[in-house]
């Protein structure tokens, strides 16, 4: 790791000030991606501004079916939140299967979303539940937020403060893990609203990161059943081929994980 300066912010305002004073600063939340990247000398921020201890970014609030998760909520807090579990257990289940216990106690939802790793779990959930990403400057629809591999709509210095969404009537996440990293080789989050509209968001498989699959959504909106997936074509040409799996195999996994998610929802 190259030398860096660590700052712990206690408020959003202070974080912004600290970042403004830094030469080439970077916000850090759980640091589950950034710190290993720095240790490998692949990132060299002059300053790290830690957001994890800002009170305004903490906590999970559920009001009826409206959910607000603070950006600094750890995966463990999300996984074990009784209030969230009562209205949207699928997100708790997703959080409970990220990484290992050490990662879940450090990593945060805000950090995961801001990083937008193409194999991360949370982006699929955010897209499928049509979440709003709340920042210190504005609100961004999830559909507009995840722009490309490791790219988001966040502007320079913008801080995610929370995510908001209405708990869907039914939802589930199914992940087929990469045997090495245990990131999603393909993960599918399905969510069905009360009005019957279905969203299907896929992570780990897309060449350009997380995406919604229109064909699967149409089929499941028409017939909310695992069987509805069978005749949907998943085009492998937009999917990722890498060391671990081909696009054709990932296309198969998209269908299988979708089917199983519907069955589990």
């Amino acid at each position: 790791m190259y030398e860096t300066n660590y700052h712990r912010a206690s408020s959003i305002q202070e974080a912004v000030q600290m970042m403004g004073a830094a030469a080439e600063g970077k916000y850090v939340s759980g640091g589950m991606t950034l710190i290993p990247t720095m240790r490998l000398r692949l990132a060299a921020p002059s300053d790290l501004v830690d957001l994890r201890h800002i009170t305004e970014l903490k906590g999970i609030a559920v009001d009826g079916r409206s959910v607000r998760i603070g950006a600094a909520a750890t995966h463990e807090e999300v996984a074990t939140s009784a209030e969230l579990g009562a209205v949207c257990p699928a997100v708790c289940d997703l959080a409970g299967h990220i990484g290992d216990p050490a990662v879940r106690h450090m990593g945060t939802i805000g950090g995961s979303i801001a990083n937008n790793d193409p194999a991360a779990d949370y982006p699929a959930a955010m897209l499928a539940v049509d979440a709003v990403i709340v920042t210190d400057r504005r609100e961004i629809k999830a559909g507009d937020f995840f722009t490309d591999l490791f790219e988001t709509a966040l502007e320079e210095g913008e801080i995610i403060t929370a995510v908001r969404f209405d708990a869907p009537a039914k939802a589930a996440y199914q992940k087929f893990a990469n045997p090495a990293s245990r990131y999603a080789m393909t993960g599918v989050f399905v969510a069905r609203r009360n009005d019957g509209e279905v969203r299907v968001a896929v992570t780990g498989a897309g060449s350009n990161g997380v995406f919604r699959h229109q064909g699967l959504e149409a089929a499941l909106s028409a017939n909310w059943s695992p069987d509805a997936v069978a005749n949907v074509a998943v085009d492998a040409s937009d999917l990722l081929t890498d060391l671990h799996a081909s696009a054709a195999y990932r296309a198969n996994l998209v269908k299988v994980m979708t089917k199983r998610a519907v069955a589990a929802a």
Partner: protein, 781 residues
């Protein structure tokens, strides 16, 4: 046996320090004035070095010096060598290219060391390493072992045209060809044995200390064989003569073979310590370990097995290409020859065997022994072939094996080995009973009802441990002898120190070696200390690999104990005024049989050292040593059965049961043996399902971290069912055979046989990733 003696489940003495974080590993060592090294490594798989400019790096904060290969050459440090001479079938010696500890002209794999930076801290050394400017002229690279022999491919070493190191054969080709021509059935198969990265928990590390006052070197290192390291560094690498070089391998966190070899870093750190005048420590990081630890396996083979009308094997023909990487590592040449082709008879009575092995260079990290070393490659080839043949012949795989088992001993195979003892059917029966083989059809039907494909597969392995005897391995090309030494020092008040040349890096020698002493002398295990891993403390040794510590190291200890007992009896007989032939040792005392006369052990020991009342002519003291040279290999064997369920939609394999029935000879500590089997099985399952080193065509290592290289985790392996049915080894005093590698040797074919049984498609290579299994399970096939 006593509570601590042979056969007892004694809790491991060493685990208190390991489990409480009190282990002392090489990286824990610290000496005054110590500085830190980082190596500048080649980012290219094949290139000519046209210049190294370290001017800027030397001027950076904290930097002591930057040293390169030209300086190393000028100081007379020698090439790394392969210590086992193999001759090609045309009689020519193997073509060993030069391996410089720091490359001075050509780099041949990504990670090849080019320079060493010594600085006040690791971070400063790393910063400076990035500032060393190395100019390279890129050369084309070759990584595919099937491609490397072709004309027009990149050439790695001028000594080895077409990258061929040797073209070696074993066995009677004409007899095999005759049998193949006359066969009622021939099973043919192409076999890939995937390349593995060893991944010990503790990465390699070394601390080189040069003492100018005494002109003496000390090398702390993560070694499985410190004496061998000292020998090689002095006799071949010209670092220092043996009497001026102390090698210490303290606690070592796993080796699996990868810490047998002497790597460039130990040599360079010792040399750099003298050049810079400061102790120099280097600790490998995990990516560096993937790049530079000797890899394992990497064979491509074709096999033909001939059967007569009665389903008896009449011949086996094997053609293998073994990838040795960019340079010949210390024992690389013997792994795909005398540790591989000699095991191709397996548990079967095969009249004719011929193996042809070509070893080749590629622009990849060197390949050498990895847990099992040659025997896993032989077992995988043979047991995949047996299973395939059984399917082709419409026979139960168990019956085909029973038909061909060797049933009388000793048995001379056509490939050198003389099996001394075994009962292969006993292991087969034990495994089939434990696995409820006969109930499989019902379990398969039940699984089908859940949409799962269930399969079962077996593997009957044999292996050879305790590489031996010295004269025999010498005649086959070994550059060293393969004895072991032990010294037993009885302290003045009777406690015991054992100095052994075996080295424990996870095996539990501090417990098992002490159990042997406790058993023989009737002493509590806490009064016995096992000392190993330091050339200044231990007289001589050959170290630990090939499951040799029990069969060879403990046999040396048994011989030394014979001498201790004999002298102790003389002293005690004199004290009790009895005849020494009437003295027996039991329960910590020397007794005159049939009387109530007795001398406590500690009193005899004190008498040995006070020397006030010794038998006339007897030397004071009680310290005896012995060398033991084994009469033969030992031959552990067994039967493994694996049962899997495949999710046909995803190709995911779940191991629903794994049964291991082994014959390890006599057992010192069943708990430790079970642990060794569990670990070996996990590594074998890792090879079969998960692990595989991948280079791209340009020679970049694609699997250089745990994000991309899949290691077995707890949830990848089932709860194992292990048992032993043992035939004592007749060739060593303890009747032991060795258990360290069996799990890794026997398990991959059982697993692949089970998966191919489940999916009804025999075309599957390791690692059997979900995608491969899914593709192979598609109905189109």
């Amino acid at each position: 046996m006593g509570v601590d003696g042979i056969g007892a489940r004694v809790a491991r003495k060493e685990d208190r320090r390991f489990l409480t974080g009190k282990g002392r590993y090489t990286d824990d060592m610290s000496v005054p004035g110590m500085k830190y090294a980082v190596f500048v490594r080649s980012p290219h798989a094949h290139a000519t070095i046209t210049g190294i400019d370290a001017t800027a790096a030397r001027a950076m904060p904290g930097v002591i010096d930057v040293l390169d290969g030209k300086q190393l050459l000028a100081d007379g440090i020698g090439n790394l060598i392969c210590g086992w001479m193999i001759h090609s079938k045309d009689g020519s010696p193997m073509k060993m290219g030069a391996w410089r500890p720091l490359a001075d002209k050509t780099v041949r794999y990504v990670g090849d060391a080019v320079a060493i930076v010594v600085a006040d801290s690791v971070a400063e050394a790393r910063d400076a390493a990035e500032a060393v400017v190395v100019d390279y002229d890129l050369l084309p690279a070759v990584t595919d072992p099937l491609q490397t022999l072709a004309d027009g491919e990149p050439q790695l070493h001028p000594e080895a045209p077409n990258n061929l190191i040797f073209d070696w054969e074993l066995g009677d080709a004409a007899a095999v060809d005759r049998a193949l021509a006359a066969a009622a059935h021939v099973t043919e198969l192409k076999i890939y044995n995937n390349r593995l990265a060893p991944n010990p928990m503790e990465p390699r590390a070394t601390l080189g200390i040069y003492d100018a006052g005494d002109d003496h070197y000390t090398c702390y290192t993560t070694s499985q064989n410190p004496h061998l390291a000292r020998l090689v560094m002095s006799a071949f690498y010209n670092v220092a003569p043996e009497n001026k070089l102390r090698v210490i391998a303290p606690d070592v966190g796993g080796g699996f073979g990868s810490k047998i070899y002497i790597y460039p870093e130990e040599i360079v750190c010792l040399w750099a310590s003298k050049r810079t005048g400061v102790p120099v420590k280097w600790t490998c990081d995990r990516t560096e370990a993937f790049l530079t630890d000797a890899h394992g396996r990497d064979h491509v083979s074709t096999v033909k097995m001939a059967f007569d009308a009665g389903h008896r094997i009449t011949a086996l023909k094997v053609d293998t290409i073994a990838n040795l990487g960019a340079y010949m590592s210390l024992f690389s040449s013997c792994v795909p020859t005398y540790l591989y082709a000699t095991l191709l008879s397996g548990q079967y009575d095969i009249p004719a065997i011929h193996a042809n092995v070509r070893t080749i260079y590629t622009n990849t990290v060197p390949v050498d022994a990895y847990r099992g070393a040659g025997r896993p490659e032989a077992t995988y080839l043979l047991e995949r072939t047996m299973e395939t043949a059984a399917r082709e012949l419409g026979m139960s795989p168990a019956e085909l094996r029973r038909t061909n088992f060797i049933r009388s001993f000793p048995h001379q195979t056509p490939v050198i080995m003389n099996y001394d003892a075994g009962d292969y059917e006993a292991s087969l029966n034990a495994a089939m009973t434990a696995a409820d083989w006969n109930g499989f059809a019902a379990r398969k039907a039940e699984a089908e009802g859940r949409g799962m494909k269930r399969g079962i597969g077996m593997s009957c392995y044999i292996e050879a441990c305790g590489l031996a005897p010295s004269a025999a391995v010498g005649s086959l090309g070994a550059g060293v002898g393969l004895w072991e030494s032990a010294e037993v020092k009885v302290n003045m008040a009777g406690t015991i120190e054992v100095m052994t040349g075996s080295h424990s890096h996870g095996q539990g020698h501090e417990t098992t070696f002490a159990q042997l002493v406790a058993d023989r002398l009737g002493l509590p295990i806490d009064s016995i200390n096992i000392v190993h891993g330091d050339t200044d403390k231990v007289q001589m040794g050959m170290g630990t690999y090939g499951s040799r510590s029990g069969a060879v190291g403990m046999s040396a200890l048994a011989k030394a104990l014979d001498k201790v007992e004999a002298k102790a009896k003389k002293i005690a007989a004199h004290l009790m005024e009895a005849d020494e032939s009437d003295v027996v040792i039991e329960d910590g005392a020397l007794k005159v049989a049939g009387t109530d006369k007795s001398v406590p052990w500690f009193q005899m020991a004190l008498a040995a050292y006070t020397a006030h009342n010794l038998p006339p002519g007897l030397e004071p003291g009680l310290k005896e040593s012995a060398f033991y040279d084994p009469a033969n290999f030992t031959f552990p064997a067994g039967c493994y059965i694996c049962e899997v369920e495949i999710d046909p939609e995803t190709g995911r394999t779940q191991i629903v049961q794994f049964v291991a029935a082994d014959d390890f000879g006599n057992i010192i500590n069943p708990m430790i043996v079970e642990g060794q089997v569990h670990g070996g099985l996990a590594q074998g399952i890792g090879q079969a399902l998960l692990e595989g080193v991948r280079y791209d065509d340009s020679g970049q290592l694609l699997t250089a971290s745990y994000l991309d290289y899949a290691m077995p985790r707890a949830d990848d392996v089932p709860s194992f069912t292990v048992s032993t049915s043992n035939t004592p080894c007749p060739n060593n005093p303890l009747g032991v055979k060795g258990c360290g590698e069996a799990g890794a040797i026997g398990s991959p074919p059982a697993l692949i046989n089970a998966i191919t049984d489940a999916i009804g498609n025999n075309q599957l290579t390791m690692p059997a990733t979900p995608e491969k299994v899914w593709a192979a399970a598609q109905p189109a096939h």
